[in-house]
C-alpha cells in the first residue's frame, strides 16, 4: 500500500516526470566481499608471478656481484673460481631458437593456411585437434624422437654420418655457419662431428613450437573478413591470389605474434635440448658441428651444485633467461592483441 503511494508521489511535479529514478549503484556487503575476494585472488596470482622474478633476483645477487659485467661476456662456467658468465650459453640458446623458428615458421604458416583455407567441416576440426594435440605431446617424447630416431636414423646415418648436415657442410661449407672442423668429405669417422649439434636440437625444438605458432596463425587467418575474401574471388582471383592479397595481410599480426610466441617457447625449452646436445662452454656459430649449449640445459645439468656460489650462478643464468623470454612474450602478446583488435574493427 505504501509502495503504491510512493510510486504516485513523483508525479506531482510535471516536469520531472521523465527524470530517471536514481538507481542505487553501491553493491551490497556480500558483493563487496565478492569483489574483494576476486581482487585478492588477482593480487595473489600477480604476487606469485612477481615472486618468481624476485626469488631468482635475490638468489642470483651474490653471483652477479662476484661476476660483475663479466657475467655477460664470460664464456666459461666455473663458479667456484669466480670465472663464469652466460656469453656461451645465451648465444647457444638464441642460436637454437633461431634455427627452430627458421624451420617452424614456414611449417606453421603452411599448415595454418592449409587448415584455414583448404579444408572445412569435419576434416578441418580433426586437423585443428591434431595440431593442438601435437602441442600437448610432452617435450621428453620429442627428445626421445630426436635422439633415437631423427639423429641416428635420418640426419646422421652410419659411420660416415650421411645426411643433411653432412650435405650442407660439404656443399655450403663456405658459409661460416655451415662450416665444420676437418674435411666434411672424409670417408669414415666423421659421424660424431655432426651429432649433438645446435642444428639437430633446433629441428626438435621446431617440432615443438610449430603447433603453437600454427594455432595462433590459423586463428588470425580464420578471422579474415568474408566480404573481402569474396571480393577478391569476384575480381577473378585464384584461391592463392585471395590468400596472398586478403588472408596473409590480414593475418600479419597473427603471423608475427605466433612466431614470437614460438620463439619464446623455443628459448625456454629444456629437456629435449638437454637430451640431444653435448654441452660446451664456448661461443660456437658452427651449427652443424657437435657441441652447443643453452641456459636451460645448463641449469638442468648443474642444478645439483653443492656450493653456494654455484647455485647462485645458476639462479643468475635463470634470471637472464626469464628476462629474455618475458620480453619476447610481451612483444608476442602485443602483436597478437593488435591483430585481434584489428579483426574486431574490420569485421
Amino acid at each position: 500500500m505504501s509502495h503504491a503511494a510512493h510510486l504516485l508521489e513523483p508525479e506531482a511535479p510535471q516536469e520531472a516526470a521523465d527524470a530517471p529514478r536514481p538507481v542505487p549503484t553501491s553493491a551490497g556487503p556480500a558483493d563487496r566481499a565478492f569483489d574483494a575476494l576476486l581482487a585478492g585472488i588477482g593480487g595473489l596470482v600477480l604476487a606469485v608471478m612477481a615472486l618468481v622474478g624476485l626469488f631468482l633476483l635475490v638468489r642470483a645477487w651474490e653471483a652477479l656481484r662476484v661476476a660483475g659485467w663479466g657475467f655477460v661476456t664470460t664464456q666459461a662456467w666455473v663458479p667456484e673460481s669466480g670465472n663464469f658468465g652466460i656469453a656461451a650459453v645465451l648465444t647457444g640458446t638464441i642460436v637454437i631458437a633461431i634455427i627452430a623458428i627458421a624451420i617452424a615458421l614456414p611449417l606453421a604458416l603452411g599448415t595454418a593456411v592449409f587448415i584455414s583455407e583448404f579444408t572445412r567441416g569435419r576434416l578441418q576440426r580433426t586437423l585443428i585437434n591434431l595440431v593442438d594435440l601435437m602441442a600437448a605431446v610432452p617435450s621428453v617424447v620429442y627428445g626421445l624422437f630426436g635422439f633415437y630416431l631423427l639423429q641416428p636414423g635420418i640426419l646422421v646415418r652410419g659411420d660416415e654420418g650421411d645426411g643433411l648436415p653432412r650435405f650442407l657442410a660439404t656443399y655450403l661449407g663456405w658459409i661460416p655457419v655451415f662450416q665444420v672442423e676437418g674435411d666434411p668429405r672424409a670417408a669414415t669417422g666423421t659421424a660424431t662431428v655432426y651429432t649433438a649439434s645446435a642444428f639437430i636440437a633446433g629441428i626438435v625444438v621446431a617440432m615443438m613450437v610449430t603447433p603453437i605458432a600454427c594455432s595462433i596463425m590459423r586463428e588470425s587467418f580464420s578471422q579474415a573478413p568474408v566480404g573481402e575474401r569474396e571480393g577478391a574471388f569476384a575480381l577473378g582471383a585464384t584461391r592463392w591470389g585471395m590468400i596472398r592479397t586478403v588472408v596473409l595481410p590480414f593475418g600479419r599480426g597473427g603471423i608475427i605474434g605466433g612466431t614470437m610466441l614460438g620463439l619464446g617457447r623455443a628459448l625456454g625449452e629444456t629437456i629435449a635440448v638437454f637430451m640431444i646436445i653435448s654441452p660446451i662452454f664456448e661461443i660456437s656459430i658452427r651449427i652443424l658441428q657437435v657441441g652447443t649449449n643453452s641456459v636451460s640445459s645448463l641449469i638442468a645439468l648443474r642444478y645439483g651444485e653443492s656450493t653456494q656460489i654455484g647455485i647462485s650462478a645458476l639462479m643468475a643464468a635463470g634470471l637472464a633467461l626469464f628476462a629474455l623470454t618475458l620480453v619476447v612474450n610481451f612483444v608476442a602478446s602485443t602483436a597478437i592483441a593488435r591483430s585481434r583488435s584489428g579483426a574486431v574493427s574490420d569485421a
Partner: protein, 410 residues
C-alpha cells in the same frame, strides 16, 4: 480465357523450337575436379619419381631417404608447374604451385606428429608387453635385469599424486582469477591479464628453479612430490587462467543481465549463472592445463629428487613422475632401460591422449550447450516444476510462482 491459354501455349512451343539455349542464370560449374587436373598431378608425380630414381639409383651416387624425398618433391613441383602452364595462365600456375607446397607442409607436420607418437609405442612395446611393468617399481631391478623384472608403478603413482596436489591449488585459484579477469575491468585487472599472458610461456625450467630457490632452499622443504607439484602448479596456473578467461567471456551477456534484472547480487550471478553456463569450457581449460603440466620434465627434475622405489608420501622423500622416469631411464645405455624409458613415454602419451580427448569431448560444446543426458535431466526437473506449480495453483488458487530454486513446500 481460352485465348490467353492458347497464346501462352503457342509461345512455349515457339520458345522451345530453336536449338536449346542453356538458361542464362545457371551458374558456371566452379567446383569439381577436371580430368586434366588429375592427369597433371599424376603425370608430374610419375615423372618426378622416375627422374629421382634415375638420379639416385642409376646416374649419380646420391643416397638417403631424406634426399630422395626432397629431390622428388622439388622435381614434382617444377614439373607440375610446367604442366599447368601448358594450358593455364600465370595466376593459375602460382595457385597450383602454392597449393602443392601448402599441402606438403601440412602433410609433413602430420607425418612428424604420427611418427613421434608411433615411435614411442614401437620402441616401448617390449617393455609394455610385460604386466609387471605396470605393477612393480624399480627397486629390485638392476641394470642387467630383464624386462620381466621391475616397472614404473612408482612413476605412475608419483604423477597421479603430484598432478592431484597441483590441481587442488590450480583449480580454485585459476578459475577465480579467470572470473576476476573476465568480470572486473580496471587497470589492475588489465595488468594482471598482461602478466598472466606473459607467464603462459614461462620456461618450465624457471618454474622448477623458482620452487627450488623458494621452497627447498629458503623454507627447507625436502625434495619431494609436493615441491614438484608446486612447480607444476606454477606451470598450469597461467594456462588455466587464460583459457578460463576466454570461455567466461563467451557466456551470453543476456543471461547475466536477466539474472541482474531479477535482483540477484553479482556473486549469485557468478555462482548460479556464469559458472554453470561455462562449466564445460572451464573443465576444458583445467584439463588442458593438466595435460601440459603432466608432461613437464624439467620442473620435476629440479624439485622431486630421484628414486627407483615407490613412495606413497608426496610430502617426504623423493618421488619421480612419468616424464622424469622416462628421462632417467633413457640416460642409461642399457638396452632394457631404454626400452623401459620408451614404455614410460608411451604410458605418459596415453595419459595425455586421454586427457586431451576428454577436453575435446567436454569442450566441443559451446557455453550452455548440454549433453543429451544433461538435457534429459533438465527436462525432467522442468516437468517436476510444472507439476508442482500446477498443484500449488490448484490448491492455493491465488498465486503460483515459478521458482526453480524454491522447494515444493513453498
Amino acid at each position: 480465357m481460352t485465348a490467353v491459354l492458347d497464346d501462352r501455349a503457342a509461345r512455349t512451343v515457339v520458345g522451345t523450337s530453336p536449338p536449346p539455349v542453356p538458361p542464362p542464370d545457371a551458374p558456371r560449374p566452379i567446383r569439381g575436379v577436371r580430368t586434366s587436373d588429375v592427369l597433371e598431378i599424376v603425370g608430374a608425380a610419375l615423372a618426378a619419381i622416375s627422374l629421382t630414381s634415375l638420379m639416385f639409383f642409376v646416374l649419380t651416387p646420391f643416397s638417403g631417404l631424406l634426399g630422395y624425398v626432397v629431390v622428388a618433391f622439388v622435381l614434382f613441383v617444377s614439373l607440375y608447374a610446367l604442366l599447368v602452364s601448358m594450358d593455364g595462365n600465370r595466376p593459375l600456375v602460382a595457385d597450383r604451385t602454392a597449393a602443392t607446397i601448402v599441402v606438403a607442409l601440412a602433410a609433413l607436420l602430420l607425418i612428424v606428429l604420427v611418427t613421434v607418437i608411433v615411435f614411442a609405442f614401437v620402441r616401448g612395446r617390449s617393455a609394455l608387453a610385460n604386466l609387471n611393468f605396470f605393477v612393480e617399481d624399480m627397486r629390485q631391478a638392476g641394470p642387467l635385469q630383464p624386462l620381466t623384472d621391475g616397472g614404473i608403478l612408482h612413476a605412475i603413482v608419483g604423477t597421479l599424486q603430484q598432478i592431484t596436489i597441483a590441481l587442488v591449488v590450480v583449480v580454485p585459484l585459476g578459475i577465480l582469477c579467470a572470473v576476476f579477469l573476465s568480470e572486473v575491468s580496471n587497470p589492475f585487472s588489465r595488468f594482471v591479464r598482461t602478466i598472466v599472458e606473459a607467464m603462459t610461456a614461462l620456461p618450465s625450467i624457471i618454474a622448477g628453479l623458482f620452487i627450488y630457490a623458494a621452497l627447498i632452499l629458503q623454507f627447507g622443504v625436502p625434495r619431494s612430490g609436493f615441491a614438484a607439484a608446486m612447480a607444476l602448479a606454477i606451470m598450469a596456473l597461467p594456462i588455466v587462467i587464460r583459457a578460463g578467461d576466454v570461455v567466461l567471456r563467451l557466456v551470453p551477456g543476456t543471461l547475466k543481465e536477466a539474472a541482474a534484472a531479477l535482483g540477484a547480487p553479482r556473486w549469485r550471478i557468478m555462482w548460479h549463472v556464469t559458472l554453470p553456463t561455462a562449466r564445460s569450457g572451464l573443465m576444458t581449460s583445467v584439463i588442458l592445463g593438466t595435460a601440459r603440466a603432466i608432461g613437464e620434465t624439467s620442473p620435476v627434475l629440479l624439485t622431486a629428487g630421484a628414486t627407483t622405489a615407490l613412495n606413497l608420501n608426496p610430502f617426504d622423500g623423493p618421488q619421480v613422475s612419468l616424464p622424469l622416469a622416462t628421462f632417467n631411464f633413457t640416460r642409461s645405455s642399457e638396452e632394457t632401460f631404454i626400452a623401459r624409458g620408451f614404455g614410460t613415454a608411451a604410458v605418459l602419451l596415453v595419459l595425455v591422449l586421454v586427457l586431451f580427448a576428454a577436453a575435446r569431448a567436454i569442450g566441443g560444446r559451446g557455453p550452455g550447450e548440454l549433453t543429451s543426458r544433461q538435457l534429459r535431466r533438465r527436462l525432467q526437473r522442468s516437468e517436476r516444476d510444472r507439476a508442482r506449480i500446477e498443484a500449488t495453483g490448484a490448491s492455493g488458487a491465488s498465486s503460483g510462482t515459478a521458482d526453480d530454486e524454491g522447494g515444493p513446500g513453498r
